[in-house]
């Protein structure tokens, strides 16, 4: 029998592949302790996100968004045992696809984002690193920062994070990809999409400089 193999070391968690966990091929996601964080804060963050992630992964399925099958949740060990999804991170795939392929992929991503929002779920870390392309499907992962919410502001932040990823990392195709994403998103969410997209624009324009008085007198 093969043993555990470390397949990825993320910023937040170590990902282990166990090829034979009760006869199944699983991924064990373990949120590791951070030496730089206060130990109490660290424990609380890891425990909360572990339990929370399992909850949101489950809810997302109900919304028709593919997510990994969950097998076990261990709050104290901050670990989740879940289905090992065969596929590739969307972030790595984008540049290899032709224009049509990219647009199709981002339409699907937009559709699924819209379904999540429509079901009252926000992802909280909606980036191309947290999506796996498995054949024709896109599996959403990493729901540790997710929330159960219908607030336009939180939906707007999700869209802003996606757009930010497209500007910072996929800058060669930003507008094309967001356009396809937006199309799918609108189709899934209907009339409510307007408000979320408007909020995204507002978040982008929001001044980082805190000075209300100054905002009144414009530039010059």
């Amino acid at each position: 029998m093969e043993g555990l193999r470390l397949v990825a070391k993320g910023a937040e968690a170590d990902l282990w592949l166990d090829p034979d966990w009760n006869g199944r091929r699983v991924l064990i996601k373990r949120r590791v302790a951070k030496a730089y964080r206060h130990p109490e804060l660290d424990r609380e963050i890891r425990r909360f996100r572990t339990v929370h992630e399992a909850d949101i992964i489950h809810r997302a399925k109900g919304a028709g968004v593919p997510t990994p099958v969950l097998y076990q949740v261990d709050p104290e060990g901050a670990a989740i045992v879940m289905q090992y999804v065969e596929g590739e991170m969307v972030r790595e795939v984008v540049d290899r696809l032709d224009c049509d392929g990219r647009r199709r992929l981002f339409r699907v991503i937009g559709l699924q984002a819209g379904r999540l929002h429509g079901a009252g779920i926000v992802h909280g870390d909606m980036t191309t690193s947290n999506m796996i392309r498995a054949g024709d499907r896109v599996v959403f992962i990493d729901f540790g920062l997710g929330e159960v919410s219908r607030e336009a502001e939180k939906r707007g932040v999700d869209l802003h994070l996606m757009r930010r990823m497209l500007t910072s990392t996929h800058f060669r195709h930003t507008e094309e990809l967001f356009d396809a994403f937006e199309g799918g998103y609108r189709d899934a969410l209907g009339a409510e999409a307007d408000e979320a997209l408007r909020r995204m624009g507002e978040i982008e324009r929001r001044g980082r400089y805190v000075d209300r008085e100054d905002r009144l007198d414009g530039d010059g």
Partner: protein, 351 residues
């Protein structure tokens, strides 16, 4: 900081060769917020002067118009001081740079007006510089970092950025107020002096108990408005020692910064991690940055305080880089831009 000394004598590798032969001297004016700075830099990487005059608000935070009045009253004296410190005549200046944004409108306009007048009077080119780009560029010069991921934390900005294909890309930033502003507001509520960072840090040293406060990270972005509101509420509630509240506020705010920095570092796989901005002086935050850099095999780079807070030298130096990259700002189109984003700026001198 032994590294800081070395850079004065050795030219950075990305300086154009022609400049090393034909040394250009640039005077830079910084006036985005409460600091008025005049710096003088040369194209071989030497910082010849770095004079600062700070507007200290009588109470509360920065008042833009009062700060602008301070800058207008002080500019002559600071300019003279910088020329004297550098040992150069006005006629030796071959380029004028000014911080064009982002920042407070009235303060920016005061600096820009002085810069335009100087450029016209001396009949030399003018270059408008992005304040955030300047923080990164002086940080690279002062620490010898080549291609760092930068965490820039101050009273007005909270940004995680790194260079990629012609621009500094923003990977994470605050969704509402800057971390320094969060500390300032809390300090004001608690009757601690301005700026809040050092006062809170001092108090936090005597704290030990972790009080639950909202920890808000969204992807690589963060939010501090909930944190400052909750901290102020706890303060008014009177249940806790101020020392413990300061301790907890620091622990939560800096852990949030640590988390987004670590995410961005893992995402970009940069080999250097640069900490700059006034809040970068905090020892707890430095410890966190050091720990994250070590964990990811990156080299931590701490910008010396005189180049980490708002200063004129960074504007002068970045003016030289921009000038070498072919950038000019004609006086007639040299309006300031209080919302100029870091990731909108082309940086042709890198690449």
């Amino acid at each position: 900081m032994s590294r800081a000394k070395g850079f004065l004598s050795s030219p950075p590798p990305y300086c154009l060769k022609v400049e090393a032969i034909d040394r250009l001297v640039c005077l830079g004016i910084e006036s985005t917020a409460d600091n008025l700075g005049v710096g003088i830099a040369a194209s071989d990487g030497a910082i010849l002067a770095n004079e600062v005059s700070s507007h200290v608000p009588p109470e509360g935070g920065i008042h833009p118009r009062e700060a602008a009045r301070h800058h207008a009253a002080e500019i002559g004296r600071v300019l003279e001081g910088a020329l004297k410190a550098a040992g150069v005549e006005a006629g030796d200046i071959g380029l004028i740079a000014f911080s064009r944004g982002p920042g407070l409108g009235p303060c920016l306009r005061t600096g820009a007006t002085a810069a335009r007048a100087l450029a016209a009077y001396l009949d030399v080119p003018l270059v408008g510089v992005n304040h955030c780009v300047a923080h990164i560029e002086i940080g690279r010069l002062a620490t010898g970092a080549v291609d760092p991921l930068t965490l820039y934390v101050s009273g007005g900005n909270t940004i995680v950025a790194g260079y990629e294909a012609g621009r500094y890309r923003v990977f994470g930033e605050t969704l509402d107020i800057a971390v320094g502003n969060c500390l300032d507001v809390f300090a004001r509520e608690a009757g601690l002096p301005y700026p809040g960072g050092p006062a809170v840090e001092e108090m936090a040293l005597k704290g030990e108990r972790l009080i639950p406060l909202p920890y808000v990270v969204k992807g690589m972005d963060l939010s501090f408005s909930g944190l400052v509101t909750a901290s102020a509420q706890e303060l008014r509630g009177g249940r806790w020692r101020l020392e413990d509240l300061c301790f907890s506020l620091q622990e939560v705010a800096y852990a949030m910064l640590g988390e987004v920095t670590e995410r961005a570092l893992a995402h970009t796989r940069k080999g250097e991690l640069l900490l700059t901005g006034g809040v970068g002086a905090n020892r707890r935050l430095r410890g966190i940055v050091q720990s994250i850099a070590e964990e990811h095999g990156a080299s931590p780079r701490f910008v010396p305080l005189r180049y980490a807070t708002d200063n004129g030298a960074m504007i002068a130096w970045t003016g030289l880089l921009a000038h070498a990259g072919g950038i000019r700002t004609p006086i007639e189109s040299s309006h300031v831009d209080s919302r100029w984003r870091l990731d909108e700026v082309e940086v042709p001198w890198r690449g």
